[in-house]
């Protein structure tokens, strides 16, 4: 009973600012009021068809999120595979390095990337943005793919070996199919977090381009406006749908580290 009450309280705590942001997008005026005054849907039109700044930044957000998530997943596969297969010093060092940017304060990583890209003369380019986020979120597909590889039933591998499958065939018929849900989850984790990331992109973009979160922050001098709230709604919806899909088609409790032995209680 008390547990339920506490869960309800936590749900309320999480939902409160989200609900407020969603409602604030309906404001007829320029200021963020709650409850909204003169409710209108005009802000949605403004976001998608008004000032092109929002459409451009949305495009940048999407390109960087998809590109960096794909790159991170591609790079994470061989690292996770090596870690699982041999677990030698090299693979462990590689995995450790790959997880570094995610675990340390992102502002420091952003400052460092700013230096790095200005050496290559790539500061402010979208390519630098994609690579930077791929490095920042490499840890996520690395973690989910590792969980997936560990979840492979050893008996399947033994069976494949006794039936004479070589490494390639085992990989294609046993390892890959069983880890696809985890790979996809890792991709989406990286994508959603890249979509919402702000501070690293802030240093890397150097005003060369702006993602939506950056654009909002840059226009913050005049305070938050209902048009920004529309962007927030869009982003919240993308995150919500993505994780709902992972929960529906993937094994979210296991991915998050629940005891696999108790999977069917």
């Amino acid at each position: 009973m008390m547990a339920r009450a506490w869960l309800a309280f936590c749900a309320l705590f999480i939902a409160a600012p989200i609900v407020v942001v969603c409602a604030a997008a309906l404001n007829g005026g320029r200021s963020m009021l709650f409850p909204p005054q003169d409710p209108t849907l005009a802000r949605f039109g403004e976001f998608f068809a008004g000032d092109p700044v929002w459409r451009t930044s949305l495009e940048a957000s999407v390109v960087i999120a998809l590109g960096s998530a794909a790159l991170a997943t591609l790079a994470a596969w061989p690292i996770a595979y090596g870690l699982w297969r041999s677990g030698d010093r090299w693979s462990r060092a590689l995995a450790g390095l790959g997880g570094l940017p995610f675990i340390l304060p992102p502002i420091v990583f952003g400052v460092g990337l700013g230096f790095l890209w200005s050496f290559f003369g790539a500061l402010g380019s979208m390519a630098a943005g994609v690579l930077s986020h791929a490095a920042l979120f490499l840890a996520l597909p690395l973690a989910t793919i590792s969980v997936g590889l560990q979840a492979i039933d050893r008996a399947h591998l033994d069976a494949a070996a006794t039936m004479g499958a070589d490494a390639r065939a085992t990989f294609r018929t046993v390892i890959l199919p069983q880890t696809i849900p985890y790979t996809v989850s890792g991709f989406f984790f990286a994508m959603v977090l890249s979509f919402n990331e702000f501070i690293v992109m802030f240093f890397v973009s150097a005003s060369g381009f702006a993602t939506v979160t950056l654009q909002i922050f840059n226009s913050l001098r005049n305070g938050f406006t209902p048009t920004m709230a529309v962007a927030a709604i869009l982003f919240i919806a993308v995150s919500g749908l993505t994780f709902a899909a992972i929960a529906r088609w993937g094994d979210l409790p296991r991915l998050m580290g629940a005891d696999p032995a108790r999977a069917d209680d």
Binding site: C10, P17, M32, L33, A75, P78, V108, R154, A244
Partner: protein, 317 residues
């Protein structure tokens, strides 16, 4: 589930790993994941050049300026150590509050059916991925004077009650009121609230595995022996997850050391943290990249120390 499967490498043959592929991957990871941190370290010994640029160097002047002030040895200034102290202070409190909220929440989630657990985790993850920018936007409205909590509290008569009760001098001292009204921005309270909110989902996600792996028969046994729920929690559950709890606290702390948007919007200028001065030095008004790098190194060292402690707490498990 065999324990051996996790430890011994599987029987099947490994895919061939070409040497050049391995080298290329290592090079890429080193360049993108390690080089930025190394650059920050190296540039922190560099020197500022007039006009916003900088050169390589081997001087400790930036660190001296950080710890002793610009005008040392004529005068001692502790502005930057104080900034670091605010970083640590907010991060520590935010992490502690988030854990206190999240522990019972994660515990309650693990007691539900697998399907309900998945739904809760999806909800928590969706809020976890929410950009700091949007979190701050939401709380900005909730705490604003004309349409948020202060207005509602006034309408409910709480503001007048507090005034009559003589609480206002204290609230004013805490930045939570002006002589006439309650106001929550900018204040340490708003900063902490936003920070707690930002890491709360991380706290649940970090506490979920140890709590869900906890053998339910332990708590069951304690209950059948007549222990009340609170006693079960205190004598069985908490000791069993003590180390993951410490580890999570340190991870959340490190995460909050990097909070930026919440600080710029919610924190009174004189109490802002190191992230703000790092930004000012690298991209903002002061434009002194080596000094910004030195500040970053101090922040990094603080974070590294905590992560090292967290790893040790994990190893001893």
């Amino acid at each position: 589930m065999s324990v051996a499967a996790a430890e011994a490498p599987p029987a099947a043959a490994a895919l061939p790993a070409p040497r050049w592929g391995r080298l290329a991957l290592t090079g890429l990871v080193a360049l993108l994941c390690a080089a930025p941190f190394l650059l920050v370290l190296v540039i922190s010994f560099g020197e500022k050049v007039e006009g916003g640029s900088w050169t390589w160097g081997l001087t400790l002047a930036n660190y001296e300026r950080f710890f002793l002030g610009h005008d040392w040895p004529n005068a001692l200034s502790l502005v930057y150590p104080q900034r670091l102290w605010f970083s640590v202070w907010y991060a520590a409190l935010g992490a502690a509050f988030a854990l206190a909220l999240a522990f019972p929440c994660a515990w309650a989630i693990t007691r539900r059916s697998r399907r309900t657990q998945a739904a809760w985790l999806a909800f928590i993850l969706a809020s976890l991925s929410l950009s700091e920018v949007f979190v701050v936007m939401g709380w900005d409205v909730l705490l604003s004077r004309n349409s948020g909590l202060p207005a509602w509290l006034k309408a409910l008569g709480v503001t007048d009650m507090l005034k009559d009760g003589g609480w206002f001098p204290l609230l004013i001292e805490w930045d939570l009121a002006n002589p006439r009204d309650l106001k929550f921005k900018t204040s340490g309270f708003a900063t902490l609230l936003a920070m707690t909110y930002i890491v709360f989902p991380y706290a649940v996600i970090l506490l979920y595995p140890p709590l869900s792996r906890l053998d339910p028969s332990l708590a069951e046994a304690a209950r059948t022996m007549g222990a009340r729920p609170w006693k079960v929690m205190r004598t069985v559950v908490l000791p069993a997850v003590r180390l993951p709890l410490i580890g999570s606290a340190l991870l959340l702390f490190v995460y909050l050391l990097g909070a930026y948007v919440a600080v710029t919007v919610f924190t009174p200028p004189e109490k802002q943290t190191l992230t703000v001065t790092i930004y000012d030095a690298v991209r903002g008004q002061t434009l002194d990249a080596p000094f910004g790098a030195a500040q970053s190194v101090v922040l990094l060292a603080t974070a590294g120390l905590c992560l090292w402690a967290a790893a040790r707490a994990g190893v001893r498990r």
